[in-house]
Symmetry: C2
Subunit: 251 residues, 2 copies
């Protein structure tokens, strides 16, 4: 395990910085988490998949808001024109024809009630705290740090390519229709992460800023990891640790 807290102390070239960022992903992205491994191994109960979809909805639902927070810091119209595509992707034409609606469809296809998902009331408190920390980060930190925190998208093709074929093969109630969300994401993520990576390579031009972007990506990996930790703790091993008031799968 690398100590990323002093990774940029000497100043890095753009290529070296990118290599450190990719190393962060290799060590800390949530495709290394046991819950993901249990998902792709076919070992999750239907209740655990439902809990995953219901909790992850909170993350999906906040994406356009965190991207709007980033727009509030962006003074360059060309940057904003590029970045606002992310909001359009998730909200769609009318708010309910983009990525959030497709994630809701994923959850309801797994048998979770749409209103329960949308209200977010049954999500784990730990999920809400993690998602809230992500939104606050994009409000409070510099534009550069907020952009860098989006760079987990560099690694999302990996996890999607692990997740989708495995889910179709291992869970007979999961269909291509269930997972329609993921068919759009790789192309969008590649476009978005290319832009964000080029921005970070260009603007992280001091050791201090380089350390900030590394820390931002570590932070974002912590968010995604903590969300799976919370699911594993609450719903793993029969659900004996579900906190008061959270979603309880039907027996």
């Amino acid at each position: 395990m690398s100590d990323f807290h002093r990774a940029a102390s000497g100043g890095l070239s753009p290529g070296e910085l990118e290599a450190v960022l990719r190393q962060v992903g290799a060590e800390r992205y949530h495709n290394r988490h046991p819950y993901h491994h249990r998902m792709t191994g076919g070992d999750l109960s239907k209740g655990e998949l439902q809990a995953w979809a219901l909790n992850r909805y909170c993350y999906q639902a906040v994406i356009p808001r965190k991207d709007a927070a980033i727009l509030t810091h962006a003074e360059d119209p060309a940057f904003r024109a590029e970045w606002r595509k992310r909001i359009e992707d998730h909200d769609g034409e009318d708010g309910w024809s983009g990525g959030i609606a497709r994630w809701l469809h994923l959850a309801t296809s797994l048998g979770v009630d749409a209103d329960a998902v949308k209200s977010q009331r049954l999500a784990l408190p730990a999920t809400r705290f993690a998602v809230g920390a992500y939104l606050a980060f994009c409000f409070e930190r510099s534009l550069l740090e907020a952009v860098a925190s989006s760079l987990t998208e560099l690694f999302s093709p990996v996890i999607i390519n692990e997740r989708v074929p495995a889910m179709l093969a291992k869970y007979d109630y999961v269909t291509a229709d269930t997972l329609a969300y993921f068919t759009r994401r790789p192309e969008q993520a590649a476009r978005d992460s290319d832009f964000a990576l080029a921005y970070v390579r260009k603007h992280a031009d001091t050791p201090e800023r380089q350390q900030q972007v590394i820390d931002a990506l570590v932070f974002k990996c912590d968010i995604l990891w903590a969300m799976l930790d919370a699911l594993q703790h609450a719903y793993g091993e029969g659900g004996g640790n579900i906190p008061p008031g959270a979603f309880r799968p039907e027996a």
Copy 2:
């Protein structure tokens, strides 16, 4: 398990509201959490106690800041004069002679390095997200809601009376000096919670405000519960789920 989401729909007398708030504590305060039960049962390893102290420090350290956030909303000088005692209690005369210093002493007495504790760098991300959510709540919500979120102190004498004698009896390396933090707390907490409860009883004078204070106390119980969930998941069962970068007890 009660559904506190509609508890105040009809309007409650001050006494009825207090009864609902006490019911929230009876059902959701973290003295019901398995990690607390393992602590009082003498079943935590030294590493688990160290992790508890190190992570809980993040919560202790934010208390004066959340109380300052509450002061920013308080227009009544008499309210502020009462509430600022909380900041004095935790920071002490010079910043390091109050409750935070005593908590640091607790952690170092258990063998954790003081700088590691104070930097908060080795705390679980989930702990930081929960503590951050608490601080943000006190900034963003109404004065009434922020005051109500402090009412977990109503129940702290219960958990302290369970914790302290059990820790002294069950862990031979824990002494009265280790636990000096707790000798001051019951008197402070009683004074503070009496004031906060009287404030809430007086100002939660519509069904909507009553529901807000109930929700605020549920939220705060969720914070404390999520912190123990994170410890249990990471450090229970031999520490196999410690997330990347977090505190690792010596073998």
